[in-house]
Symmetry: C2
Subunit: 293 residues, 2 copies
């Protein structure tokens, strides 16, 4: 199958799974649930769940075993977007071409919708663990991986917030990105491998791959924020520079950032060169680096 077809197929699977977890019953908190649904089904690229699935598929075929974690991870990613967009943090009005959650609903609802998504991601996985006879050990280890990743993501987001408009050292910039975007991407790749029962040497190689694509993802995001097409992106470009945000492009300049992106993407691909079946993950690294939205 050609890469784009497989990517879309995987995203379709995730979208179906996400829909199965939407709560649509009549209840006093139904508007909260609508607000969760609004952001969860707003058409993300589903990169994180796809990473879980495709890392698992390096080792095993029954990819449906990863769906609970895939859905939980997308819920957590959505929680982080809703909270990051809030007026007190990034104050963004649009995301993926739609109003952000607090603009569509209100701030109180957006705060609680984020909280609810984070909590329900755990709820989902815990119930899956309770209903699992075998694979329980792997699932518990994968849940720890998820939880540590979220911890690092929140730390990275905090550093991003604190240093907005201030000069930031290279060391801090790296720390911020490793955590803010990188930690969850790394967790996804490792979760796929852990669920499949991969050995530690395989997990190590995949961890290097994950660290590289996490960094590439962030550099590409920074480049798109500077010179992307606002229609494609569904949000205005140039905001980071205006706000004095420290990003790879504002720090190193556009050309150097592009060079870094190329180098890191090659290193990611090298890290998994010894696996059979790694075609999709390699293409995914290229897609992350050269996407236009």
């Amino acid at each position: 199958m050609i890469f784009k077809e497989e990517l879309n197929k995987k995203a379709d699977v995730i979208n179906l799974e996400l829909k199965r977890h939407i709560r649509s019953e009549e209840c006093p908190e139904r508007i909260l649930n609508s607000s969760v649904e609004y952001s969860l089904l707003a058409g993300g690229k589903r990169i994180r769940p796809i990473l879980i699935m495709s890392s698992y598929e390096l080792f095993k075929n029954d990819v449906e075993k990863t769906y609970t974690f895939a859905v939980a991870m997308e819920m957590i990613h959505t929680f982080s977007l809703i909270h990051d967009d809030l007026p007190a943090i990034d104050n963004d009005d649009y995301r993926r071409g739609n109003l952000t959650n607090h603009k569509k609903f209100n701030e109180a609802t957006a705060i609680l919708a984020g909280d609810s998504l984070l909590n329900n991601a755990y709820n989902l996985v815990i119930n899956d663990i309770i209903n699992s006879d075998k694979d329980r050990e792997q699932k518990i280890l994968a849940l720890r991986e998820l939880s540590s990743g979220v911890d690092r993501m929140i730390a990275g987001e905090y550093v991003d917030t604190e240093f907005e408009g201030k000069e930031i050292s290279n060391e801090y910039l790296e720390y911020m990105h490793e955590n803010k975007t990188g930690a969850l991407i790394k967790a996804c790749v490792r979760i796929g491998a852990i669920l499949a029962g991969a050995d530690s040497s395989a997990i190590e190689k995949l961890t290097i791959y994950a660290e590289k694509i996490g960094l590439a993802f962030q550099i590409k995001d920074d480049i798109l924020s500077e010179i992307g097409d606002s229609k494609e992106l569904g949000k205005p470009v140039g905001n980071d520079r205006e706000r004095g945000k420290c990003t790879y492009t504002t720090k190193y300049g556009l050309e150097k950032a592009k060079q870094m992106l190329n180098d890191i993407t090659s290193e990611a691909i090298d890290a998994i060169s010894l696996f059979d079946n790694s075609e999709f993950l390699k293409d995914l690294a290229l897609y992350i680096a050269y996407r236009n939205k």
Copy 2:
């Protein structure tokens, strides 16, 4: 031991355990960690962890087995307070006599500190499960109980927010309180029993006790918000009425609310009358109903 001594002794244990989980290392997100510490050690009554401990002690003596859940629950309670106090939700400046988290730090920090507390509560318990050879099954079931309780708490908080300043039916008022305060209190009592491996009939009785004291807790909170001593409470009184909040006192009047509180507290005590050793839990029900802060 007299009740107050035992209550304080238990709270001291929790405070020590909480301090062991404070992160004080030098790191780029150290201010976020300070903000977490600020709210976590702001001197709460520690009712929720004490409920876990004393419910467990109905059945077993090695109460230290509950500490991880006790700490996690207090982290979750603190997360909910920090987010509830935010300008977009309750907009409170003081809590327990101190500035609220967003007033002491800022809104972005308070949002992320709450997120971090919720996530770390899970992280803590998951690591405890991974390090447990035995009792693993009970711990996983207790974690599900926790996670469902938090889900209900967030729903209750949402309903509270949505109906601020609006007329609310008795049915909705009950739903709101059952969820906002009651769900977590119920989870605590059940978690203690689940961790101790109690049988379903014992858990059922404790669930009734928990539902009653949860409701009593909320009615008492509403009464204190109306006629409490603002110095004792560490926050202004009369705010609920001013904001048009629907509470037990604004809905039923003070006298009727007090009557309801008495009745419900008796029912709570009745529910656990057949247990040996239930003295402390009975005193705790009275304490919840007749405290002055």
